[in-house]
């Protein structure tokens, strides 16, 4: 998925500590940047689903980078092995690092053990976006869905994550069959 890259021998970036003082930027700066991204993507696609796919792609690269840094910083390099724990890691640690708060809710689908929902009433991503009437299904949190999908997939829990307008914004996580089967096998040991 990601290109393999090697850092140059004496790169200054390697000298820096991973735990660093928290730095902040303004939400306006992010909102304006994100808006340009959405417009750029829109200029290169023909449909809402293509636009969401492009946003999700960019989210994936954010998620992949965030995963590594968080696992090292907050988990001392330890990776999760259980479905519930990786979901909680996302709801708590990932959300706090990205959005400064825990996600509002984490739920499991009643009728399907592969499907989970992360629900955010007012996601930061959508705070300054008004969706045009003719594209009412567009949810730019597809970007966040991409982040979550990358984190799950790179942690060994392959899944598909999509964003929907439901109770605010709901990210629907559908795990691969194999993930749930493995989780059950671990439980029964």
């Amino acid at each position: 998925m990601m290109d393999t890259r090697f850092t140059k021998g004496k790169s200054a970036i390697l000298e820096r500590s991973l735990t660093r003082p928290k730095t902040e930027v303004s939400v306006s700066a992010f909102a304006l940047l994100f808006s340009e991204m959405v417009q750029y993507c829109q200029s290169r696609v023909y449909s809402v689903s293509e636009l969401q796919a492009r946003l999700a792609d960019m989210g994936q690269s954010v998620g992949a980078s965030m995963l590594d840094v968080l696992v090292l910083r907050e988990k001392n390099g330890k990776r999760e092995t259980k479905v519930l724990n990786i979901l909680l890691f996302i709801k708590v640690s990932v959300w706090k690092a990205l959005f400064g708060k825990e996600a509002d809710k984490l739920e499991q689908a009643n009728d399907d053990d592969k499907t989970y929902y992360i629900i955010e009433k007012e996601p930061l991503i959508n705070a300054y976006i008004s969706v045009p009437k003719e594209n009412s299904t567009l949810n730019c949190a597809a970007f966040t869905a991409g982040i979550v999908e990358a984190i799950l997939t790179h942690s060994g829990f392959p899944a598909k994550v999509t964003a929907h307008w439901h109770k605010g914004t709901t990210l629907m996580i559908k795990f691969d069959e194999s993930v749930i089967a493995r989780d059950k096998a671990l439980d029964s040991r």
């Binding site: 700066a29 750029y40 980078s65 930061l124």
Partner: protein, 180 residues
């Protein structure tokens, strides 16, 4: 108008890492979409310009900074108020030209390039070009035409990041014909 009273002078803040990585994702995508680095630089600058044109309004509303009397004052406001407000860093203003129409912003740290390292095949990429566009766009909205470019960049091995800004001219407002 009633909404204005709810505005606080201090804008809401967020963790810079999401911002940094999101910008990284954008640059990566542009590098995939365009043939060469020059095109990517141009596109980033254009996006920055669009941001600047919108950002100035947000800035004037929140900062309660009045009209600047000269370019030196403009430089100080950009460094001490605008950069601080939006990116959480305060560059220093130096290297004034004798005529006082050109200066440098020196950034000790640039939030756009945290985690970033340029691969060998992107030697001509000016990674933070977006900032040039933002500065150009926002100043244009207050009737100042400026030229903005990167003179030094830590990503290319320089010790600091230096943005060079040159005043070109004051833009005359063209009133629509028939208006007093």
């Amino acid at each position: 108008m009633s909404r204005q009273s709810n505005r606080t002078s201090d804008s809401k803040k967020m963790n810079s890492e999401l911002f940094t990585l999101t910008y990284g994702a954008l640059v990566t995508q542009l590098c995939k979409d365009y043939e060469n680095d020059e095109e990517v630089n141009k596109q980033l600058d254009k996006m920055g310009y669009n941001i600047g044109v919108r950002l100035i309004e947000d800035f004037l509303a929140r900062s309660s900074v009045g009209r600047c009397h000269d370019f030196r004052e403009t430089a100080d406001v950009i460094a001490k108020v605008a950069f601080k407000m939006y990116l959480g860093v305060t560059p220093s203003v130096t290297n004034w030209s004798p005529a006082g129409d050109e200066f440098s912003l020196i950034l000790e740290s640039n939030p756009l390039v945290d985690f970033v390292e340029l691969p060998d095949n992107h030697n001509n990429l000016v990674y933070s070009s977006l900032l040039c566009g933002v500065l150009r766009g926002s100043l244009e909205m207050v009737q100042m035409a400026v030229d903005v470019r990167f003179a030094q960049d830590t990503l290319r091995g320089d010790n600091v990041t230096e943005i060079r800004m040159k005043f070109i001219k004051r833009i005359e407002e063209n009133l629509p014909a028939g208006d007093e």
